[in-house]
């Protein structure tokens, strides 16, 4: 039996291939000893920030320094450095500026603490406001008021 491939399928396939080609165009061809190294490489160049460009990681930058840092990351991975050692290697030369995941230090620990503290303060404030309005709740009604209420209700029922 003869199978036919529709022209539109060919068109879409070519289009996707074209897109893939442009997405890869900026990057060096690299060969890895194994897939785990490749995954770690992709992860690292995604997390490292280009020192020469505003808000771009080294994966997405064409700056010469970003290319040097990709090369260095690749070399160090194959020399058996751990991810943390590679990031520290870059920080030792290019300062904390180059990582999008800041290290926990006395100065940066606030990045994690402030949201929690904010929530805590908010929760305490809400709790205290709620309790106060609870205390200020309506006084119990007096017998005279209860009498008047019953009269009103009965009047209403008679009317309907």
């Amino acid at each position: 039996m003869k199978t036919s491939i529709s022209p539109s399928l060919i068109f879409v396939t070519l289009l996707l291939l074209g897109l893939a080609a442009t997405a890869m165009a900026e990057r060096e061809q690299r060969y890895f000893d194994n897939d785990s190294l490749r995954d770690r490489y992709e992860q690292l160049i995604w997390e490292l920030r280009c020192p020469k460009c505003q808000n771009q990681n080294i994966a997405g930058s064409n700056a010469p320094i970003a290319s040097d840092m990709r090369e260095k990351t690749y070399e160090l991975l194959h020399q058996g450095y751990s991810d943390e050692q590679i990031i520290n290697y870059m920080i030792d030369r290019y300062s904390e500026f180059v990582t999008y995941k800041p290290r926990v230090t006395a100065g940066t620990v606030w990045l994690w603490l402030i949201p929690g503290l904010g929530l805590l303060i908010g929760a305490v404030a809400v709790f205290m406001l709620a309790r106060r309005s609870g205390q200020q709740g309506a006084e119990p009604i007096s017998d005279a008021e209860r009498q008047r209420l019953t009269e009103l209700l009965e009047k209403d029922r008679d009317a309907s």
């Binding site: 010469p64 320094i65 290019y94 205290m128």
Partner: protein, 177 residues
């Protein structure tokens, strides 16, 4: 109510943030300015040949002894060309400058130093940018202020001119020991 002040906490927070942001906006903080990780650190070890002689290797020990400027430059760098005459005049005033020819070609560098004069006591040739990487260099020109022990005291990114030297950098250089 004794705890009414707590209602003003968010307002207080906004005021503090607004103060912080307007400080950042008005004081002209440059967000692209990157601190140097190397200030206060020893100059990294290296072994590089000179621009003039591919067999003449130098190490960090050849630089120590007297304070100096370490100037990263390249023939492909327009600001380096702009900066070069001023480096020549600094050198004539007796400022010790070591040149690092960064990611460049030897014959181009030689021609440059012949044509525009050579302000450098020593011309290191760093074609792959290895020393540059160790120093956290992101481009050229960059200038490191290094004391006689080989400790990096200050790093300046960009071309140096006479106004900048007189206003800021001269004092940094004179404080090196």
């Amino acid at each position: 109510m004794t705890r009414r002040w707590i209602l003003f906490l968010p307002l207080g927070l906004i005021v503090v943030l607004a103060a912080l942001f307007s400080y950042a906006l008005l004081s002209g903080v440059d967000p692209s300015e990157m601190p140097s990780a190397l200030e206060g650190e020893e100059m990294p070890a290296f072994q590089l040949s000179t621009v003039q002689d591919s067999l003449d290797f130098k190490t960090v020990e050849d630089l120590k002894g007297q304070p100096f400027l370490l100037n990263i430059w390249a023939t492909w760098c327009p600001s380096c060309k702009w900066e070069h005459p001023y480096l020549n005049s600094l050198s004539q005033e007796g400022v010790r400058i070591i040149g690092v020819n960064y990611k460049d070609e030897r014959d181009l560098a030689q021609a440059w130093l012949r044509d525009y004069a050579n302000p450098y006591e020593l011309d290191l040739y760093d074609p792959n940018g290895d020393l540059g990487f160790e120093l956290g260099v992101t481009g050229a020109p960059e200038t490191f202020f290094i004391d006689s022990q080989g400790v990096i005291q200050y790093r300046y990114q960009g071309p140096i001119d006479s106004a900048l030297w007189q206003d800021e950098l001269k004092a940094v250089y004179e404080n090196l020991d």
